[in-house]
């Protein structure tokens, strides 16, 4: 796959640049954060689409268990889908890879690698990231990590099939694909670590004059906290990954207790290990990780809302503090994924309490965003539609986290579709919608052209309807007690019978959602060449990337002239000012 279907816009000003760099240095091994950001964006979008395609196959199987998949079914190979009928092994591979790809190869690279890379330096007035080479290395760890994951579908036994959570001992005895998964993960972890160091240094060190912490756009705060989460939470998973790799390759027993009997045979291993150790290390990462998925999204939504309400964000300070607190707390709630692993009262009380506490900063942030709408002059632009839809969707996802966070109610709901519904509401109509908002919003920055509004609406409304059609019934199915990761969607179970018909409904919605992406894809590629040309600040925004840099930004160094900052990020509709926006870099009374 080419990393860049679209060459980034020509730098406007090449005067200071005597020797033009060769193509590969400019677009492939580029050190320019803007090019790297676009490389991340296209790779991540590809993976999102791929992850979605895997899910389409699964949803076919869930709607019509054991029915041959039309057309594509034959291409899946006899080992996976003989006669086009998906085997349970293959279903498990698809599930594990859908989760892994969406989280680690789709959303994180898009939210952090792409948006963070492109926008953060521009918003803080920096010429580039602090370490451009490291930035390139980070992408070039991500890319092979992704390739390894893709390639694992073609090794004997197929891709990893033990869930994205890869709980041992199932994962230690699994087919070779699991080893590939682990190696791929180590690449992705390395990439994230490099990236997060770079982001933190950039934000601390490269802010232009006058840009104090409380004048940073909220998006930058979100990226900063996100980077800390990646920096400190990923290493334990790396440790766990190394242990699991050794368990598989060198036959150690870190996660294998003594006396396992696999298919009637006593497992030859030293024994004495602990399967729960993996879960602790995994969730120590994976809980902070879910905030990695949501914080950049909240950042984007905050930018878009401030811009399209034409007024300052309400409670900006409390949002910033809430974000920091959220980041901190996210390190001490992880075992709420493990309530049913045999926990006594003390520890379960601890984790329930921290889980309830962590919901408060989310409520604070969301409330602030809601109240920001009061007194606004709301422009229903395409990015704004997605940003607005994000709010109630994240609300549903977040609220359904509460019964999961209380251990007694989690007894019935754990590992059912209720959980699937909970987190998809936060990541799909939540984060993905925020990503769409970001794409529509910053597209003119990157290309100097706007995306088409009609196609935007044609993308938004069906997506909004279908995505709820997929995930809302999951709460009903989950309350009925249908487990997740079932190849036949629960067809065998008596308790699933009353809700089985929802499977079809959800699948049809999923197919609908896929079709709803067509206007988006057309719009994206068409607008690169044919979109309406706009000036460098088409949204009349206040933050530096719009107010101080040309669109697209200058090839090397971003700004024609290094800006200075005089006021907070969202000075819209300032009384007494003739325009309804007062850019951060406009000299004048400090505001």
């Amino acid at each position: 796959m080419s990393v860049l279907e679209k060459p980034p816009p020509e730098a406007e000003d090449h005067a200071d640049h005597h020797h033009p760099e060769p193509f590969w240095k400019r677009y492939i091994f580029s050190q320019d954060h803007k090019v790297i950001g676009l490389q991340y964006a296209f790779t991540a979008l590809f993976f999102l689409l791929f992850g979605f395609t895997l899910m389409i196959l699964m949803r076919w199987q869930l709607a019509w268990p054991g029915r041959p998949i039309p057309i594509i079914g034959g291409l899946l190979g006899e080992a996976n889908a003989p006669g086009g009928i998906m085997l349970p092994e293959f279903y498990n591979q698809l599930g594990a890879m859908h989760g892994t790809i969406m989280v680690f190869l789709g959303i994180v690279p898009l939210a952090v690698g792409a948006f963070g890379n492109y926008v953060v330096p521009l918003q803080i007035g920096a010429p580039d990231m602090a370490f451009p080479k490291l930035n390139m290395a980070s992408y070039w760890c991500y890319f092979p990590g992704g390739l390894i994951m893709l390639a694992s579908f073609f090794v004997p036994g197929g891709a990893a099939n033990s869930g994205w959570t890869s709980y041992p001992p199932l994962s230690t005895i699994a087919t070779q694909g699991q080893t590939w998964w682990l190696v791929g993960m180590i690449f992705l972890i390395t990439s994230s670590l490099l990236g997060s160091v770079n982001f933190i240094v950039t934000i601390f060190q490269l802010r232009v004059k006058g840009l104090t912490f409380m004048r940073l756009p909220f998006f930058v705060h979100a990226q900063l906290v996100t980077s800390f989460l990646l920096l400190l939470a990923f290493p334990p998973l790396e440790a766990a990954g190394i242990f699991q790799l050794l368990d598989r390759v060198l036959n150690t027993s870190f996660f294998q207790p003594s006396g396992l009997v696999i298919s009637g045979e006593v497992l030859e291993a030293a024994g004495g290990g602990s399967p729960l150790l993996w879960q602790h290390l995994f969730w120590f990462l994976a809980h902070p990780e879910v905030y990695v998925l949501i914080l950049p999204a909240l950042g984007i939504v905050a930018e878009v809302i401030a811009n399209n309400t034409r007024k300052p964000l309400w409670g900006y300070k409390s949002m910033v503090y809430a974000t920091i607190f959220l980041g901190f707390m996210s390190f001490i709630v992880w075992a709420h994924h493990m309530f049913l692993t045999g926990m006594g009262t003390t520890i379960s009380s601890f984790f329930q309490t921290t889980t309830m506490i962590i919901s408060i900063p989310s409520v604070v942030i969301l409330t602030a965003l809601f109240i920001s709408l009061w007194g606004a002059s709301i422009r229903f632009t395409t990015p704004m539609l997605f940003a607005l839809a994000f709010l109630p969707m994240f609300g549903i996802g977040g609220l359904t986290g509460l019964p999961l966070g209380l251990s007694p109610t989690d007894i019935h709901l754990h590992d059912t579709y209720y959980v699937i519904g909970h987190f998809h509401y936060v990541v799909a109509p939540g984060t993905i919608f925020a990503m769409f908002a970001g794409i529509y919003y910053w597209f003119p920055k990157i290309t100097g052209r706007k995306m088409n509004d009609f196609l935007g609406r044609l993308h938004f409304w069906p997506s909004f309807i279908f995505i709820n059609g997929i995930f809302m019934p999951m709460f009903i199915v989950g309350l009925a007690g249908v487990s997740r990761r079932l190849w036949d969607g629960g067809e065998q179970y008596a308790h699933a019978q009353p809700v089985l018909e929802w499977n079809l409904f959800m699948s049809i919605s999923a197919f609908g959602l896929l079709f709803a992406q067509i206007p988006f894809m057309i719009n994206l590629f068409w607008s690169i060449k044919k979109g309406k040309k706009v000036d460098s600040n088409p949204w009349q925004a206040t933050t530096l990337e719009w107010a101080a840099a040309p669109s697209p930004p200058v090839g090397h160094g971003n700004f024609v002239e290094v800006p200075a900052v005089y006021r907070g990020p969202y000075e819209y509709s300032v009384p007494g000012h003739p325009d309804d926006y007062l850019p951060q870099n406009l000299p004048g009374k400090e505001g």
């Binding site: 800390f228 400190l232 334990p236 729960l276 602790h280 001490i332 006594g344 003390t346 520890i347």
Partner: protein
Amino acid sequence: MGGHTAEEIRGEIRRYWIIGLALFLLTVITVAVSYLDVSAGMAVFVALLIACIKGGLVAAVFMHLISERQAIYALLILTVVFFAVLMIVPIGTRASPIPMG
């Protein structure tokens, strides 16, 4: 950080050698203690105490943390807190299982 004048730097160099010597001696002590017949708990305590002292010296002097900036302190405190959580909680989880009764 580190000083800038030649005088200051020479002073630092003296300090480096003293610390190096101290680390050397502490290592000898650790090994010596391990050959004594003390209770297991005591052995762990002494070994970790000495290791912490040594680690502290390395961090404070060689990595010149004593004269470092606030930002770095904040970062390290944060890391130490999470590190502690990582150490304590998994063990705590096992210490609180569902009682067999």
